[in-house]
């Protein structure tokens, strides 16, 4: 017996696969005393074993990704120099650097294996994994190994690289904006040293020659703080003033400039030691606030467009042979092949006999559409079942259905203005301190000009809204983190304010109110016997059609028989011979039933040519969806937009308030237009959707929220991504976000109190640099602590930390990229 626990198979239970850990219920392979669920898993094990990489199975138990559905991709397109050039980061004669996105990366073993790739592929000199972004960067010697070989090996061991059309276009950007780190480093350095050099001042040593020199040094150290550290604030304030608005950065900039000018006069005129420590401290705290606020979720992509769902290359018929050709080179006239579940990249005419196209990707309508030879097939659909051939009629990207992406909602950037609340308050604030400064100046100017100048700068310095500027980054930054812990991800803190301002929520139906690919199945007809159920399941089990798979799942309590014969006709159904009985499952015509004119979501069954009954599929709604809608209806106007037909109208109508608009048969463009209509009527809209067919509406609305169970899946044009398990808690989460505004108001109140104290010194002309240096960090630190504590406390008081921790579905790579 092997020592490692990963290899112990529990014999009295169902054996589980040593590679992927899934139960071996559909197949059972034994190799070296180990159980495997499929040949694919066994292959991977074999390769790793032969190359002395078993450590993979020790770091984590059963770390593999299931290999049951395994179709090897043809990577010959990676030999094309044009494609290579676009994928490769750097190339020389003996060294090439390339970065692949591997969606299958999920555990420590994955990192280990991929970083030992050099053992599997000679010629690879280095491979480094970035776990959060699921990327691996590989260095290799092109004279020893090709890009194609590396991609093939990665797929072979279960980490197929995701290569899609979107990647070819995006420029290689630095992964993290590094400027903020540099700024923090430089300002931190200056701040620390200025504090050190200000010690004589803090200790009350004055008049010493050394102290003056220290002041000059301070001034020099203050220059990079002003010029480099604070440049974003200065620019933003200038930008704001130029556009005639007063934003929060205006009073901050006033304070910074006042600090600098006053310090320069003090130091060079040898009147005092200046306020350089306050200046550096202020900028340092502001930058920390910015850094805290800029939490990014590396594994999420909020802005995918349709191109990232398209393959890089496709099978094209050339000189009677199927070759893989880069999609960018496919032109009208080409004959292309589309496999099961592959996305159709260009409009074309069907050459094969029949096809069944699932357009849910672009339209949201979940029922597949049946097509015959000669029919036009639009890009964006997915073929279900056997491979089909198409004659391309339009170039890639010019498709009728993809016109949505040409809409101005996508070409124009969303308003990126930061924090309206802060800017509004900033306006009043600037006006207030300017008037206070003016009044003090007028009061003093008649008595003593130098005191007047002193007080006016003091007022501007002390009133600098450092605490105000910190309140939002820390409070909302913390809110964002707390929500992310519960699997609600917001694009930025700006979205929090947008959510607070909403008054209308629009729902998508399919995939949003209903669960994805889950149906209630009801059998109409004489109840089935156990044997009949088993026969039906046996036939359904062998089919790839989604309805068959649902049926297979529904009947899973009944064991399958071995099939004697099996045939699947696209658009019609399946026919199988089981236990001497010929069973047909499928459409009404296929089974000889009378077409009752009922909607399509049905599957008919016939035994030996005699119609036996019908399975009716009803969408399954998310748990407590009525409650959720009821709770939201108290505070918001609601609407529903569905791409489906209105057969479930009654059921939905009863859940919504009577004033809500429920619209069916909505094309993606219609959804977008509806959002625009609402916005024209002064509504601030949140769209909750799930797929690319909602992309236009998600993009146009103030807040586009995507609900999903698979984090790698559809997340186009979204501002927020939430796990579908959170749907029942949505009203509560939104309430929390609304309440967090009160936390910010509390912070503003606190900041105001500090300002009143500080101003009372300033207007009397007795503000010493020491008081300023003390008051500034105290107010900043209390503000940070208050923001963090109050938002966390609110989270607990609302009992949100008790929410269940939902698990994300592990993406099946084969489903996403083919």
């Amino acid at each position: 017996m092997k020592e490692s626990p990963a290899f112990i198979s529990v014999s009295d239970r169902k054996p589980t696969c040593a590679h992927c850990g899934e139960p071996c219920d559909t197949g059972h392979f034994v190799h070296q005393d180990l159980d495997f669920c499929c040949e694919g898993c066994q292959w991977v094990y074999q390769i790793l074993h032969d190359n002395n990489l078993q450590e993979y199975y020790h770091i984590q138990q059963t770390p593999g990704v299931n290999q049951r559905v395994r179709e090897l991709t043809d990577y010959s397109f990676l030999d094309d120099p044009e494609i290579q050039q676009k994928i490769i980061d750097y190339a020389s004669v003996h060294l090439v650097k390339v970065t692949f996105h591997l969606p299958a990366i999920h555990c420590a073993s994955c990192i280990w294996l991929l970083e030992h790739l050099y053992k599997l592929v000679p010629g690879v000199s280095r491979s480094q994994v970035d776990f959060l972004r699921k990327k691996v960067s590989i260095h290799f010697d092109p004279t020893q190994v090709t890009l194609r070989r590396i991609a093939e090996m990665l797929e072979h061991i279960g980490y197929a690289p995701a290569l899609n059309m979107g990647q070819l276009e995006e420029k290689h950007m630095p992964v993290v904006p590094r400027k903020l780190y540099y700024q923090l480093g430089v300002v931190g350095f200056c701040f620390g040293n200025i504090m050190l050099l200000s010690f004589p001042e803090y200790l009350g040593i004055q008049g010493d020659r050394a102290a003056y020199w220290f002041n000059y040094l301070n001034w020099i150290l203050g220059l990079p703080v002003l010029i480099y550290g604070a440049q974003d604030y200065l620019k933003s304030a200038w930008h704001g003033l130029k556009n005639g608005g007063l934003n929060m950065d205006v009073p901050i900039t006033l304070g910074i400039i006042a600090l600098f000018v006053r310090s320069t006069i003090d130091i060079f005129g040898q009147f005092g030691s200046g306020f350089m420590d306050s200046l550096a401290g202020l900028v340092f705290f502001l930058l920390i606030g910015k850094w805290f606020q800029q939490k990014t979720f590396h594994h999420l992509s909020f802005d995918r467009d349709y191109k990232s769902y398209f393959p890089i290359a496709i099978s094209v018929l050339q000189d009677e042979k199927w070759v893989t050709m880069p999609l960018s080179k496919v032109t009208p006239g080409h004959r292309i092949q589309i496999r099961n579940n592959q996305l159709i990249p260009a409009d074309g005419i069907l050459i094969s006999r029949a096809a069944q196209i699932d357009y849910s990707f672009v339209t949201g309508e979940s029922d597949p559409i049946f097509k015959r030879t000669g029919d036009t097939i639009y890009a964006g659909g997915k073929q279900i079942g056997t491979p089909i051939e198409l004659q391309v009629t339009k170039a890639v990207g010019q498709s009728y259905l993809l016109q949505l992406w040409e809409d101005r909602a996508f070409t124009q950037k969303k308003e990126t203005r930061d924090h309206r609340l802060a800017d509004q308050i900033g306006t009043y604030f600037t006006l207030a301190i300017l008037s206070i400064a003016l009044i003090t100046f007028i009061y003093w100017v008649g008595r003593d000009l130098s005191t007047a100048l002193l007080t006016i700068t003091s007022v501007l310095i002390i009133a600098c809204p450092c605490a105000l500027a910190l309140a939002i980054p820390f409070t909302y930054g913390n809110v964002m983190r707390l929500l992310a812990d519960k699997n609600m991800y917001l694009r930025s803190t700006r979205i929090i304010e947008e959510i607070q301002r909403l008054n209308h929520i629009v729902f998508d139906k399919t995939g949003t109110l209903t669960a994805v690919n889950q149906y209630h199945i009801i059998f109409q007809g004489m109840p089935l016997t156990e044997r009949e159920s088993r026969i039906i399941r046996s036939a359904a089990h062998a089919s790839t059609h989604p309805l068959s798979q649902q049926l297979d799942h529904y009947l899973q309590a009944h064991p399958v028989f071995t099939l004697d014969a099996f045939a699947e006709v696209p658009g019609q159904g399946v026919q199988a011979t089981v236990e001497g009985i010929e069973v047909r499952i499928g459409s009404a015509v296929w089974t000889g039933a009378k077409d009752t004119g009922q909607q399509r979501q049905t599957v008919h069954v016939a035994f030996d040519g005699i119609h036996r009954g019908t399975f009716v599929y009803e969408s399954r709604y998310r748990s407590s969806w009525r409650k959720t809608i009821g709770a939201l209806a108290k505070n918001y106007e609601l609407s529903l937009l569905s791409g489906d037909q209105d057969r479930e109208m009654k059921r939905i109508r009863s859940a919504f308030p009577a004033t809500s608009n429920l619209l069916f048969n909505q094309k993606p463009k219609d959804k977008l237009e509806y959002i625009r209509t609402l916005q024209a009527a002064e509504q601030r809209v949140m769209m909750i959707g799930d797929g690319i067919n909602d992309a236009g509406a998600l993009q146009a609305s103030e807040v586009g929220m995507v609900i999903t169970e698979d984090i790698n899946n559809f997340t186009p044009a979204s501002d927020a991504i939430i796990h579908n398990g959170l749907f029942p808690y949505l009203p509560k989460l939104i309430q929390y976000i609304r309440n967090s505004r009160k936390v910010v108001f509390g912070a503003y109140f606190l900041a105001l109190a500090y300002n009143v104290v500080g101003l009372s010194f300033a207007v009397r002309g007795v503000l010493s640099p020491l008081v300023a240096a003390l008051l500034m960090p105290i107010s900043s630190v209390t503000m940070v602590l208050y923001g963090l504590a109050a938002s966390t406390l609110l989270f607990r008081v609302m009992k949100l930390n008790d929410l269940p921790q939902a698990e994300w579905v592990q993406t099946k790579v084969d489903d996403l990229y083919q």
């Binding site: 020592e3 002395n52 078993q54 020790h58 970083e115 970035d130 050190l196 050394a210």
Partner: protein, 61 residues
């Protein structure tokens, strides 16, 4: 008292050295991925294993 200027000069040079070390670290990408290194550090370097069929080097032993 003059010695204080020398000391201040030295302290600034040392601090500047750390600042450049930090900038170098950011430039070389050490702040780009702050998760993976925490996993990588836990692997043991393994002695070369001659036989490819035995599992004598189980990590939990």
């Amino acid at each position: 008292m003059g010695v204080i200027f020398v000391l201040i000069g030295i302290s600034l040079i040392v601090a500047g050295g750390f600042l450049f070390a930090f900038i170098w670290a950011v430039r070389s990408g050490q702040y780009d991925d702050d998760y993976t290194p925490s996993v990588r550090i836990l692997w043991d370097d393994k002695k070369p294993d001659n036989s490819s069929t035995t599992n004598t080097d189980s990590p939990n032993s």
